[in-house]
């Protein structure tokens, strides 16, 4: 834990209500990290980035499988709100090929660019559909493809932005005939 390894732990640290007062705790972490980093001669901007990175790490190990998959791809646990569209029909006759379109709309001039998009089908045997990377030649952060859905589920899209933040959106899809060959493989045990 960062908290115990930092030098000069303040004795007058604000008490937390049974350890559940996460926002206060996070601020304390950040403040102390800023103080200790600046004392060591690091620039405030660098330490600020470091502090934000620490805040991005979940405080408790309560990630569900989808969040864990997202973290494994992009290294961050908590999204920041922002526009991200995920177009997929609410009902899919056949889960073996379902059209989907992802798009991060251009905002006002000078806004943050999207670097990558990630699509997950959490109820599939292999939850990751794909990760797409854009470039300065892309012109827009937009991709369309066709995916497999083994069963009805909420499909999750994630956009990684150039400033290091990320966005998440979900769509429920009802699947009449599952893809992925699950119907041939017999029923899968649900937890």
């Amino acid at each position: 834990m960062v908290r115990s390894s930092l030098p000069g732990a303040a004795p007058d640290r604000r008490p937390t209500a049974g350890g559940f007062d996460a926002p206060v705790d996070m601020r304390t972490n950040r403040r102390r990290l800023l103080d200790s980093g600046i004392a060591l001669g690091a620039t405030p901007a660098f330490v600020g980035r470091l502090a934000r990175a620490v805040e991005a790490v979940p405080r408790t190990a309560t990630l569900d499988a989808t969040e864990a998959t997202i973290v494994s791809h992009i290294g961050r646990a908590h999204p920041r709100p922002g526009p991200l569209s995920l177009d997929i029909a609410p009902i899919a006759e056949n889960g073996s090929s379902v059209p989907v379109r992802l798009h991060v709309p251009d905002e006002e001039h000078g806004s943050v660019r999207a670097l990558s998009l990630l699509l997950l089908a959490p109820e599939n045997p292999d939850p990751t559909v794909a990760v797409w990377h854009f470039s300065s030649l892309s012109g827009s952060a937009s991709v369309a493809t066709r995916i497999r859905l083994a069963r009805s589920q909420r499909v999750v899209a994630v956009a990684v932005m150039a400033d290091g933040s990320w966005r998440r959106t979900e769509r429920a899809v009802h699947v009449n005939i599952g893809g992925c060959g699950i119907e041939n493989a017999g029923p899968r045990d649900d937890p």
Partner: protein, 116 residues
């Protein structure tokens, strides 16, 4: 399917849709499709044997050797992988589409775009 034991077909000629001409700075749409079974490794053939995984795992589009768009493709992408994406170009050049299969086999196709 009773032909599950048949060898997978070699990578076939891909299909792409690219405008031949574009204006500088115009947002253009590029489409690509490759015939491929995308065997996920989860399927079982007619005689009860698992069909081993064999998918396209990378897709890369370059413009005059500069990276334009790329994808890490996983088994939940449907068979015959299709990708539609955009480009905003300021000069004429060649777009190259490259598909990479598990095991390293590749197939590629090029299209020239004249930018005016």
């Amino acid at each position: 399917m009773s032909d599950g034991a048949a060898l997978p077909p070699p990578l076939a000629q891909p299909r792409v849709k690219v405008p031949e001409q574009a204006s500088a700075g115009e947002l253009i749409t590029l489409k690509s499709l490759l015939r491929h079974r995308m065997d996920s490794g989860n399927r079982i053939d007619g005689s009860g044997h698992p069909i081993p995984r064999l998918i396209i795992n990378r897709f890369i589009a370059t413009f005059d050797d500069e990276l334009l768009f790329s994808a890490i493709v996983e088994p939940s992408t449907a068979e015959n992988p299709f990708f539609e994406f955009t480009a905003r170009l300021t000069r004429s050049g060649t777009v190259r589409f490259l598909w990479i299969e598990d095991g390293g086999a590749t197939v590629s196709i090029e299209r020239t775009i004249t930018v005016t």
